[in-house]
Symmetry: C2
Subunit: 134 residues, 2 copies
């Protein structure tokens, strides 16, 4: 609750985020451009990332490495955002998942997606950064 406030506090310049995520500046800016992350800005227009932002970037990176394109990642992330705010019934969740797997995933990700891990929530879930911080 107050926790979310702390995790969304703008703290890191892009250089730190680069070292934390091993993404390039170009990648990070490109993801922002496509609204996968929305870092805050200083008065002088410099990006400032929160813990949530960094977590999100790590998640994006993990999905990228699975071969998912940005459109797909956007879907996944927006679904997760919904889950965080609203409480869902079992049906809702299945509905949302159908939305992703039928309309987008099967078509554009072919079979690469489900090699090995079945994209279970566990591996995609938040808190990646908790390996570094607490």
């Amino acid at each position: 609750m107050n926790d979310e406030y702390r995790r969304s506090m703008p703290l890191f310049p892009i250089s730190i985020v680069i070292s934390l995520t091993d993404l390039s500046a170009r990648q990070i800016r490109y993801y922002e451009q496509h609204e996968l992350v929305k870092p805050a800005r200083t008065e002088g227009n410099r990006r400032l990332f929160s813990f949530n932002d960094v977590d999100r970037l790590l998640e994006i990176k993990s999905l990228i490495e699975k071969g998912i394109n940005l459109a797909g990642i956007k879907q996944v992330l927006s679904m997760q955002d919904e889950e965080e705010t609203q409480e869902h019934s079992e049906e809702d969740i299945q509905e949302a998942q159908k939305d992703l797997s039928e309309k987008e995933l099967r078509k554009m990700l072919k079979n690469e997606l489900f090699q090995g891990n079945r994209m279970g929530k566990s591996s995609l879930r938040q808190g990646e950064l908790s390996r570094f911080f607490h």
Copy 2:
């Protein structure tokens, strides 16, 4: 243990530390100059502060507001540093406290120091930052 590693990771530029501590850049640099904090540096020589650094600065600020001068603060902090690394017997701790109170405090802080709170460890202890982060 691994926790200490995370808390000592250089993450924040001075601008963020300024907003987090409400200290001026001048103050922060001055404290560094007198070795109360030792922030890391980027390749380009910019300061990078860790959680521990910010905690320490908040502690410094709190002590400053109590009217303690830098020499006294340095003593207090160095004592705390020792406590963190080594395990002490009861005697050791009393010894250290005597070291501070007799040699320095009574002489240079006069009576201002003990007005109200008796400088109990509780109020000086670390983790101030935990009010903002976890």
